[in-house]
Point group: D4
Chain length 226, copies 8
């Protein structure tokens, strides 16, 4: 317990997490006040832990940037990063987004995988409504060691990709859509029921989770040695 960093009354930073899982704790900002998130970031920096803050509001980013000018805010991804886990990026995680509305989650995945040590690429606007756009990019997509596929509405993209490649596809349903998309439920159910094997799914709009999982797959051997 001496290794955990306790912040008064609201948080305990899991300082041994990197030892157990190979990666440091990540700061999930939603549901935290700007004061709480900033305090956590400062405590981590004092221990020289690289920081990835997700779902970071512009307000929080402003506060964090004032404290840590070297930090980087990606306002589409809503991520704020200071440093990264590994200097040299390795392997390849490719993030594929069905449409413009899916770019927030896609970029969150991209930023996450990169922060954790993966080389990354983004392929966008290849929804199944114009299947040729996807097919043309398949050779490019096939170079990845793990794929993140991001889509809203009917969520068909991951299944179509998984039928064309030999690496795992991590599917991210998004809340893009309206009416009977029910906040992303349609895409989520579509992806869970994909008739193609090789797809597994994370929470709606959870680009972070998908980028994390894809990085684990991409860098698998690296961590097996630690």
């Amino acid at each position: 317990m001496t290794n955990d960093i306790t912040l008064q009354d609201f948080a305990v930073i899991d300082a041994l997490r990197a030892e157990r899982t190979g990666y440091p704790e990540v700061v999930y900002c939603r549901g935290k006040t700007v004061d709480q998130a900033a305090a956590i970031i400062m405590a981590m920096r004092e221990k020289n832990i690289p920081v990835l803050a997700t779902k970071a509001s512009p307000e929080l980013a402003g506060r964090a940037a004032a404290l840590f000018p070297e930090g980087i805010y990606d306002e589409a991804a809503l991520t704020f990063t200071i440093g990264s886990v590994r200097g040299e990026k390795r392997g390849l995680v490719t993030v594929v987004a069905a449409g413009t509305s899916d770019l927030g989650a896609a970029r969150e995945a991209l930023r996450t995988a990169e922060f954790l040590g993966s080389r990354v690429e983004l392929v966008c606007d290849v929804g199944v409504a114009g299947i040729h756009r996807l097919l043309e990019r398949i050779p490019l997509i096939r170079r990845a060691k793990a794929i993140v596929a991001v889509a809203g509405m009917e969520g068909a993209l991951p299944g179509v990709i998984a039928g064309l490649v030999s690496v795992p596809v991590i599917a991210v349903p998004t809340s893009a859509g309206y009416g009977s998309s029910f906040g992303g439920l349609s895409a989520l159910l579509g992806m869970l029921n994909s008739c193609t094997p090789g797809v597994s799914v994370v929470n709606i709009d959870n680009g972070f989770g998908a980028g994390y999982q894809a990085n684990l797959i991409n860098l698998g051997n690296v961590h097996a040695h630690t």
Copy 2:
């Protein structure tokens, strides 16, 4: 009211339906006893109305076949037909089924459109898990004047087809699948949220409704003259 055929205490056959809508009433058998369904079929035959009975159990089919040996039972489609609305079939309705599990609804659509006057074709096992199987058949599918696309699980097929053709696609979600398919809900939501325009949807497993709508589209001009 004199034109309606009243069966004691449980049914009134809408004898003027053909005049109003161009097509006779169809017998939906679920929720009716075998006695009730048989009585309705007999009453229609007395007026020489051609019969399409849907969701017909083998037990009902046995009873009906004994009464009307000229009737045809399709045990995959669960349809029993006597005669048809129009002798010569016209145009083309193509029914596309994603997988073997979808054949029941697909054949119900096929039988319905044919009974009502359409020329029909069936294309099967072209799910999006192996997209090349679908792409190879697109030239064939493009010859249709209306398409019925039948799929369970993620229900992606209709949207992919609609992006490749210039005719309306009527989508039929099926209850094929398990777990989070929730009896066809995943396919239904997927189809309703298709990002491709040109798709409209009928109830889960409602091959009849899709075949009916596709026939209306296929034969549109014919009925405009009546």
Copy 3:
């Protein structure tokens, strides 16, 4: 791939779509920033592609109107259009709205079908609570080659119409209502479970999808020749 128009990092316009499906791509604005939507519209105009932008906010419309003063914004429909697919309008698509609250989706359907080449008519405030208002307009409605029926709450209108006409009815459930309408779910389920054949359904509030499908039905033969 040379035919697709790639916008940096967020969109690829499907320039061959008209060749495959007979109609150009449409700009769905929700989930896009004003900058992104405007960039897509400009790229399309550079290629002389007629533009239909849907779910366009007043803010986007203001930006677009400044760039393209010939564009037309329908603030009830939330559509912004520049030019149209076909000069002369043909056939007839009739859009029927149950109540005043359904006019947004109804006008979106109307604008869409007209943009794509259909002659259009609007019949409004004919909900089933006062069935005579609908019955009186049935002769008018029967002149259509395809009908779009728009309703919220219990969504009964399309089924009642389909029992009285011989052309396909495309049903649009709307999110009008409150409480157990659950954002349009009640109307959606009602329409999917219509006991009248000849009804197929699009997403909640998806006037665009219904207008598109109705236009395909209305102009069917025209595109068969391309």
Copy 4:
């Protein structure tokens, strides 16, 4: 408490119920063993309380008929009755059923209202798919002092009726239907969201509840005097 009839370990008959509410307790058989239901019926008969048992299985009916040959079993309604609350029937409750599949719930409503003292009539197979069948019967239906309207699928019937009459309509959604009717949910939501005032709703397949409420409305003045 001395007025309640206690059956060992599983039931307490509410013997004062008639005094408080004007009507005796009714035996709801689902979830009770045949032994339990039979014991309750016997205890009520010992006190000369007239019996209405609902959701009564054929097995229970067999047992009850052996004990009380004067009892009447309606196998469509699944009701078993011995005697009735009032000799002479008064007023008029009209039960309207949309289709043959709705007859079970409709007959349960009919039997209930009659047992409790109402004169009753049944109008069947007047679903909104052929609206003329309903319109022709409206003069007949208007004679009622309370109406029970029973329908599955989209559940549009009660709203259409309520727009044409000046008495309360009690709506019974039924589980007739399949797929996205979700066991009667579509009809239930449709009825709750009826755009016509004058409709209130009971549980799915709850013909008993509707018949009970309609009888209260029909005989209102009678009980006001007790």
Copy 5:
């Protein structure tokens, strides 16, 4: 059709409604612009139809009050009324509200029944958490000819009342509550599943519908003569 009042492009007032159902059309304001609602009210006043406008925002009420200073706005009920259907109020409709949060729907019911011709009373804050408060008021409540019971959360109130009275109870679930009340779903399901007969249910927060139905029950005989 000459009796209907057509407002350009968005509404047709059902002027014969009073003849068919005994009561004029009511103006449901949600989903209408202030301009649209005001135009409808003016058109009705030109024909001397008494006006009940429901779900009327303060903004609309301001506009309407400027036009018709004799109108009355109840800001808890969100109703605006001009005149009433019947001068002298008769019978008795009692509206019972479980808690302070339910007063909006309760007052809407009260205003509606009164506008339509009923004498009305309100009993408030008698939720089942302190059952004695309800029991003490039962003698008062028993004087009604129809009862409206309004409750959120678990929605137990109507069932408890119905076990103690001999008149129909119309239950109004409200969206009061949070978390797993899911916007009133918990109260709605509770009321639909009431184990006491004599309860029927309207939509969540639909005080209007309940007041309308209760008035029909209360004044039943009056309208039978028209």
Copy 6:
């Protein structure tokens, strides 16, 4: 780990559970084959651990009774017990059931609390439809140190009781009911949204969980000393 009892390939009995939590592991039989459940019971008996098997089918009970004739099967509760945790029963847990259909879950709660060391009482058929039956038994119910309240349908019973006593009420929703009870969902939501404090809830039909929790509350002080 040497304290756990490992059964080949399918189960590990948590032999230290009593040390950690004060009570031995309980055998939940659903989802286990009769062979698996019997093997677990035998392994526990070899260590002299008293056995409570829940959701035990008659077939399993037959097998278990042949092996352990001293065991007791309660076929309403679906429990099979051998011995008990404590010889002398203490305190008082009172189980209150709304209706006959709720007796299965009620008796499971009763058997569980008794097995774990509580003195128990059952009060049945006191649903809120006849509130006087409950009120009369309140003095009896008040003697308990913990109350289990079991109800299906609207699930109002626990809230009404909690408003009349000063001890915790553990609520068990049951799947008794039909239609919109949706397998116990209506009762579950009703109980979670109870407006009375002092109620907490377990899973639908989970009499075991409620009996366990009530026993913990009842015997609290006893275990504080171990």
Copy 7:
């Protein structure tokens, strides 16, 4: 009835509640206007009843603090308290929160139990993602006589704790999370389905209900004597 405090037209304070249940009524502020809530607080203070107001907005707290400067507002808990039920705090209720986002509900539970007479402790940020943080605090947590466990997302915390302690765990699901947490539904279902006995559940975000129940358990013997 003379003991109840009636506020004009909107509330009746249940002044005998303490006599029946051992604790005074609590003021639930959501759904009440600031005027209504303030009037209730003033009426209670006139009778010297200690006040706990929950879900109190900052605006209400401002008003109340002006009237009763001795009151205490906890802006994380959204509680406003004046006095408390018992001077000396006894026993121990421990509130365990999974993450920073769960602190609102956790503090509401803490404030409630303390107001009602319990000694309280808070343990925070011990979610199951870093299980060692929880395990290290188990000896501390074991000292409680009742535990409140608060968690959002998958809601696993209460079940893990209950497997390690011998006192009741009251679980509070929170709406922390996004996407498929569906406003707390995921945590609620997780907690209801906990495979560990000894857990019962209250409504989403209902820290008050959990604190109340935990206090009843903690002080059980105290109230048995009153």
Copy 8:
């Protein structure tokens, strides 16, 4: 297209699948008749494709075993296999099951990963109710290159594991449980909302999908070379 194997009227075997994705098509038996499944297996064996048939009923297994005595049926997993994709097994996929009820899905995952070329291990009955059983096995579990975690009810297992290891966890929710587990929904939502990164999820009871994905992760480098 010449490479696909077309079976008359119901199936097209995707013979090029191994080329595209590294693995042959798998036979999903649910929704297929025994005749259809057997015909597909025979057609694959004629091309010497190794066979994995999932969700295979005992009846189908009997038929298949008669045709191919070398096949292996695992009746817990419901898999039938003939041959395997790779002779020598490599790496390590560890399947962890929370309880005995989860063994079906767990064994399906095990059989699938093994068939596709992975070395596999099973760890069972380590649910979170007795967390020490899991913690003791963590060193064993850490040796895997990919983990499949199978659990029903609250579905907490995968998140707890992922917090303790540095490899991807593929979570399989199962339909074990009852009441508010809603057929596996509770476990599914729990897993999707896991607060630990490193978890992705497949459909309820989809052991096959998880085993497939885990094998892809485990053997990643192998296929990168083909």
